[in-house]
C-alpha cells in the first residue's frame, strides 16, 4: 500500500524545454543501480551539476525546496525515449508527485502512475500560463479530475480510470493482477498451455 493521492496543493517548478527525454531525466550511467531508492540526487544530473559536480545555481531544481515544490511543469513532449522506470523513480525520489505538460510519453505515463507520480496533460493555453509562472501554487484534485489555481480558470484533466483508482485508494496493480489467476489459467488452457512441470 502506498500513500493515497487525493488532493495535492503545491508549488510548481518549471523546466520549459520541450522534448525533455529520459536520458536528461536520468542519464544512463546511473542505471547500474539495483535499487529503486536514492535516484533523486541524479534527477536531471547533467543539467543540474557542472563538470566539477557542483550544483548550478541557475538551474530550477537547485533553487527550490523539494518539499514545497512537488509539481514539475515541463515543456511539450515530455519524457520521450527510454522505458526506464528510473525516470519516474528519480523524479518521485526528488520529491515530485505530479508532472504537467501538453504531451507526455506513453511508457513514462504508465511507469509514473505505478509510482505515485501523476502525469497530467493540459491544453496549450493552460500550459503557457503555467510556464510563465514558476513557483505558482496549484491544486491537483484527483478525485474530481480538476486542476485549480489562484488566478486562472480551473481545468479538467484525464487519468486512466484504473490508474486513478489505484492512486486514490493506494491500491497496487500487481496485487490486482494476481487476483486474475482463474482467468489467466483459463486462457492458458484454452491456448494449449499446460501448467509448469
Amino acid at each position: 500500500m502506498r500513500e493515497p493521492f487525493r488532493i495535492l496543493k503545491s508549488r510548481t517548478v518549471v523546466l520549459p524545454q520541450s522534448s525533455i527525454d529520459t536520458d536528461q531525466i536520468i542519464p544512463a550511467r546511473f542505471l547500474t543501480t539495483t535499487s529503486r531508492e536514492g535516484l533523486g540526487k541524479h534527477a536531471f544530473h547533467d543539467w543540474r551539476y557542472d563538470v566539477t559536480g557542483a550544483p548550478r545555481p541557475d538551474f530550477a531544481l537547485n533553487t527550490i525546496d523539494p518539499a514545497e515544490h512537488r509539481v514539475l511543469v515541463a515543456g511539450d513532449n515530455f519524457a520521450c525515449g527510454s522505458s526506464r522506470e528510473h525516470a519516474p523513480w528519480a523524479l518521485a525520489d526528488f520529491g515530485f508527485r505530479a508532472v504537467i505538460s501538453t504531451s507526455i510519453a506513453d511508457i513514462f505515463t504508465s511507469n509514473a502512475l505505478k509510482n505515485g507520480l501523476l502525469p497530467i496533460e493540459v491544453d496549450p493555453g493552460t500550459h503557457a500560463a503555467l510556464l510563465e509562472r514558476p513557483g505558482y501554487e496549484v491544486i491537483i484534485d484527483l478525485e474530481n479530475l480538476e486542476l485549480r489555481f489562484a488566478n486562472l480558470e480551473p481545468v479538467r484533466f484525464r487519468v486512466e480510470p484504473f490508474a486513478r483508482r489505484c492512486l486514490l485508494e493506494g491500491l497496487d496493480h500487481l496485487g490486482w493482477l494476481m487476483d486474475q489467476e482463474a482467468a489467466i489459467a483459463a486462457h492458458e488452457r484454452a491456448h494449449g498451455l499446460k501448467g509448469e512441470p
Partner: protein, 471 residues
Amino acid sequence: MPPPERTLFDKVWDAHVVTPETAETPAVLYVDLHLVHEVTSPQAFSELDARGLKVRRPGRTYATLDHSTPTLPPDANGKRPYVTTQAEAQVTMLERNCAKHGIALAGWDSADRGIVHVMAPELGLTHPGAVVVCGDSHTATHGAFGALAFGIGTSEVAHVLASQCLLQRKPKAMRVTIEGRLREGVAAKDMALAVIATLGFGGGTGCVIEYAGEAVRALSMEERMTLCNMTIEAGARAGMVAPDATTIEYLRGRRHAPKHFAAAAEHWLALASDKGARFDKEISLDATAIAPMATWGTTPDASAPVGAPIPAPRNESEARALAYMGFKAGEPANAQPVDVVFIGSCTNGRISDLRAAANVLRGRRVKAGLRMLVAPGSEAVRREAEAEGLHRVFLDAGAEWRLPGCSMCIAMNGDTVAPGALAISTSNRNFEGRQGKGARTILASPATAAASAITGVLTDPRALLAETPHA
C-alpha cells in the same frame, strides 16, 4: 460488434486478451515471450521476493547480458573490465535471479549472448503473432516478425514475471505505407529516419504502427528489424510488419522455431491485415525519394539527407538542439570533423549491417585521429563476421573490433564519447549526452557511418561505393 475486417494488430491483440478492457479496467493481456536484461530487472525480481511470488512461466522468459557489460575481453585472470562495481553487481544479480527462478540466461559463457533484440530473433524465439515484451523501449524491433512487441517498465517486468500478463489499454492503429523501392546505396536505417522525420518526434504517440507497401515487402528480415526498432523514436508503442515468405524463410530451422512449422507458417500468413481493415491514421511515403539520412539535432526526427543544408530551426527547442550540436542552419553537417564512428546496437549491429560497413571500408583506412568502434550485436554475429573476415576489414582499416553488447549506444559500460566530441553512430538515439556527457551524436546508416570514418566528415556512402579503392 467489432467490424469483421481486422488489422494485423487487431488479430494479435484479440488472441491475447485474457479479460477484455472495460471503462474501469484495462485489458489483461497475455505475454508469450518475456525478454529480460540486467538493467531493468533487478528491482522487479526484488519485488517478487518481497511478496513471496514466483515466476509463473520461466520457460517463456529469456534473459541476456548486454547493457552494462564490457566489450573488452577479460584480463589474464579472467576478470572482466566492468566500468563500476555496480555494473558488475547488476550482472551478478541477474545471474543469481535466473538461477533461482529457472530462467534461461545467455550469460558470459553462452554462445547465444547478445543484445536482447538481436539475440532473440536469431534464436527463433520471436514468433509472428506473438506478444513479446521486455523492459526496454526498443522491443519494437520484434514487430518485424508480425509480433506485437513493446517496451515495459520495471514494475511491469514484475507483473509479467509473476502473472505472465500485463494490464493494457488497446492503442490506436496507424498504417505507414512506403511505396516504390529504395534506391541503390540507401538503407533501411535511412527509411526509418525518413519515417520518423515525417511523423515527427511524438507523432506516433498512442499508436501501433503497421508498415506496409512495396518498399517494406522488399526488405529482408534484418532490415525490417531496423525499421521497426526505431518506431519508438516517433513515440509509437510498437511497429509491425505482416508475416510473409521472407519471415517464414528467416525462421525456418532456427532453434526455437515452432515444432509444427508448416502449420505455424500457415497461421502466420493469415495474420495480415484484412482488406478494408480500418486504421485510425494513415500516412504514406515514397521510397524512391529517400536518400541517405543523418540527424542534425538532438532528437531522432531532426534529420536531413546527407549533404543537404540543415533547415532553419522552427522553434526554441530546435534552436537549442542546433546550439548543442554546434551546427548552423543553412550549412550541411559535413562542415565539422568527426571524432568517433560507432557501428553496432540493436538498430544496426546485425551481420548485414557489418557487411554494409565493411563493403565501404574494404581496402581503405579510417581517417587519422578518428576513433572507430565496431561492436557486433551478438556472439552469433561476431562468429559470422569473423568467419567472413569482416573483423579483418575493420582492424586493417584501423577500427576497434569489440565483444557484443550495447556499448556506445547507451554508453553505460564505459564505452563513451568524450564531452564535445562529434560521433556518427548507427544506433537509435541522439539525445544530449546519450553517448556520454556532452557528446554530440549524428545518427546514420552503417554505410554512411563507414564512409564518414574514411573521410572524417559526414559522407554519402554512394560516392565511395562508386569508386573501387586500391587494395
